[in-house]
């Protein structure tokens, strides 16, 4: 058993609170589109209160990756997320998804967003999830310089691993994610370019996630979710997520923040060969 308290699997409920930046970086189709932007606003306005209430029912703590500009726009929401004991992680300032950002620019963006979150909540950011899954060849170095202990960007494994720079291990844990645990693979429908014409039912999402949970738990692995309050925050989906969390807790899941899991992995590196 590698996880604490004989748990079978580590599960990280993690929310990308992109709000309007989901649409401003989505493409031309949503430019100046008031009601597309209002779909983004649904996240902080309607989704977050429901999600926080549901997490409280189970006493479960989650990670919220929040772009700096959204924290500035919805300061009370960010304070409330932190007050209820949840972690806040880095997710760009404007949800920047540009592959050609320089080291200096990214360094400045990280400093800027970290300060916004610190000033609002007193939380020092220790983890990074790149907007749109974009990172750079210098990213690991930057994470270390900023005192981060984890990254959640890789998609190549179902378990945590320690990053290496120039062949040497560094104190930085990867907590991988994948589209299979990203709600936008199922519930992001839009008729604005670039169009996405699919909408799965909460029942189908539950089935896919439960199946994967059951099999990963048998292997003693982990799940890192990528959930967007503007989509998963609809009441039918929050109710489904609530059922899933209840199921996972009842079946040997350790459910906690990315930060807690990363710290546990760092403290138990000798177990990594068994992950």
């Amino acid at each position: 058993m590698i996880w604490p308290n004989k748990k079978r699997i580590a599960v990280m409920p993690a929310f990308d609170l992109d709000a309007e930046t989901m649409w401003t970086t989505h493409g031309e189709g949503s430019r100046n589109h008031m009601t597309d932007l209002s779909r983004g606003a649904y996240g902080p306005k309607q989704g977050v209160p429901r999600i926080l209430k549901m997490l409280d029912i189970y006493g479960v703590k989650a990670t919220f990756f929040i772009p700096g500009v959204i924290a500035e726009k919805y300061p009370d929401v960010v304070r409330e997320i932190s007050r209820r004991g949840h972690e806040i992680g880095f997710h760009g300032y404007l949800h920047e998804e540009f592959p050609d950002t320089t080291y200096e620019e990214e360094d400045a963006t990280m400093t800027r967003s970290e300060k916004i979150i610190y000033d609002l909540t007193g939380q020092k950011i220790v983890g990074h999830r790149g907007p749109g899954g974009v990172i750079h060849d210098y990213s690991l170095k930057l994470f270390l310089e900023h005192g981060y202990i984890y990254s959640t960007n890789w998609r190549d494994r179902d378990g945590p691993f320690i990053h290496r720079i120039d062949g040497k291990e560094v104190p930085l844990v990867e907590l991988p994610k994948d589209s299979i645990f990203d709600d936008t693979a199922y519930d992001f429908y839009t008729d604005s370019a670039p169009e996405r014409y699919e909408l799965k039912s909460p029942g189908e999402m539950f089935e896919i996630w439960k199946d994967e949970f059951d099999s990963l738990a048998l292997e003693g692995r982990m799940i890192n979710f990528v959930l967007h309050p503007q989509f998963i925050g609809r009441v039918s989906r929050v109710n489904m997520l609530s059922d899933l969390i209840g199921y996972m807790l009842s079946n040997g899941a350790w459910i906690d923040t990315n930060r807690s899991v990363a710290q546990y992995v760092l403290d138990h590196r000798e177990l990594l060969s068994k992950f």
Partner: protein, 296 residues
């Protein structure tokens, strides 16, 4: 009344008539062939005969079934009608009125351009109001932007022209009043979402821009029931179905809609027109601001 965005507040405190748990509006966008014509225009393409004829399934076949099922369940509904549809399908729109349903504004040509001026939008409203009033004898009090497209100046424009409500936004599941410079406008927003839009599930075409959705009624009504149940449980929410006679109007779907209406009725839904709900919400807000803020 407060509309706080603070991570805690999940809507405004409101009590629905007769202790109902939720306000339900079954709405129809009666776009006919202009749904696809305007969509293609916005994308710089044109439509072929298939799309044209499919649009006409609304007035030629679907509408009658919609009106019938509403009568069966004794429900009044709101139809959002582009001005040009009122012109081309005058007899059908008269028929909707004769059944006691509300007619509301939905553009003139179903225009969905984002970069128009305030003056241009005022012209569109004026033209569509004239077309609708010519048939109904009553100015429309509600507006829904074609393809949900509205502009930053639209709410004020609607207030100036005597509208009571707008139904285009997607930012929450409760009815709220628009504000301007911190001051409440006498205009209620009735938000809806793509999850409760039949277009999401039933529009299928190969022509550009391609939309290829085709779901079972079990999937569609399963989604709607899950949303209805959750929102009714929360108690202060609204539930808007956004339907198109050319899509929901197919025989099997109308039958499923009838069963869903019966389900909602038997689970304490107040099913009314948008005008009735918006009027009620505005009245409650005024009562509450007289009594001071009450938050749920």
């Amino acid at each position: 009344m407060s509309d706080k965005i603070d991570g805690r507040t999940n809507g405004l405190s409101i009590t629905w008539p007769g202790k109902s748990r939720i306000a339900v509006m079954i709405t129809f966008d009666f776009d006919a062939e202009f749904l696809r014509i305007s969509r293609a225009a916005a994308k710089g393409t044109t439509i072929g005969f298939s799309d044209y004829s499919r649009g006409q399934y609304g007035p030629h076949e679907g509408l009658k079934r919609c009106l019938d099922i509403l009568d069966v369940h004794d429900i009044k509904s709101t139809f959002f009608v582009p001005g040009i549809v009122a012109g081309r399908y005058g007899r059908e729109v008269e028929n909707i009125c004769e059944h006691g349903h509300e007619i509301a504004a939905h553009g003139y040509l179903h225009e969905s351009k984002k970069d128009i001026s305030r003056k241009e939008e005022a012209e569109i409203l004026k033209k569509s109001e004239a077309a609708l009033t010519g048939i109904t004898g009553k100015r429309p009090v509600g507006h829904r932007g074609p393809e949900s497209v509205i502009h930053s100046f639209t709410p004020e424009l609607l207030v100036e022209r005597g509208y009571l409500y707008s139904s285009s936004m997607k930012d929450c599941d409760w009815a709220y009043q628009w504000e301007k410079d911190g001051r409440k406008l006498p205009l209620v927003e009735l938000p809806c979402d793509v999850t409760m839009d039949d277009f999401t599930y039933y529009y299928f075409t190969f022509s550009n821009p391609a939309v290829r959705s085709m779901y079972t009624n079990r999937e569609v009504f399963g989604n709607w029931k899950a949303e209805f149940d959750g929102l009714a449980e929360e108690g202060n929410k609204i539930f808007i179905l956004k339907l198109h006679p050319q899509m929901i109007g197919r025989a099997s779907r109308i039958s499923a809609l009838g069963r869903f209406i019966a389900y909602m009725k038997s689970h304490d839904a107040w099913i009314a027109t948008c005008e009735e709900v918006a009027g009620y919400v505005l009245g409650q807000h005024r009562l509450d601001s007289a009594k001071g803020d009450v938050l749920r």
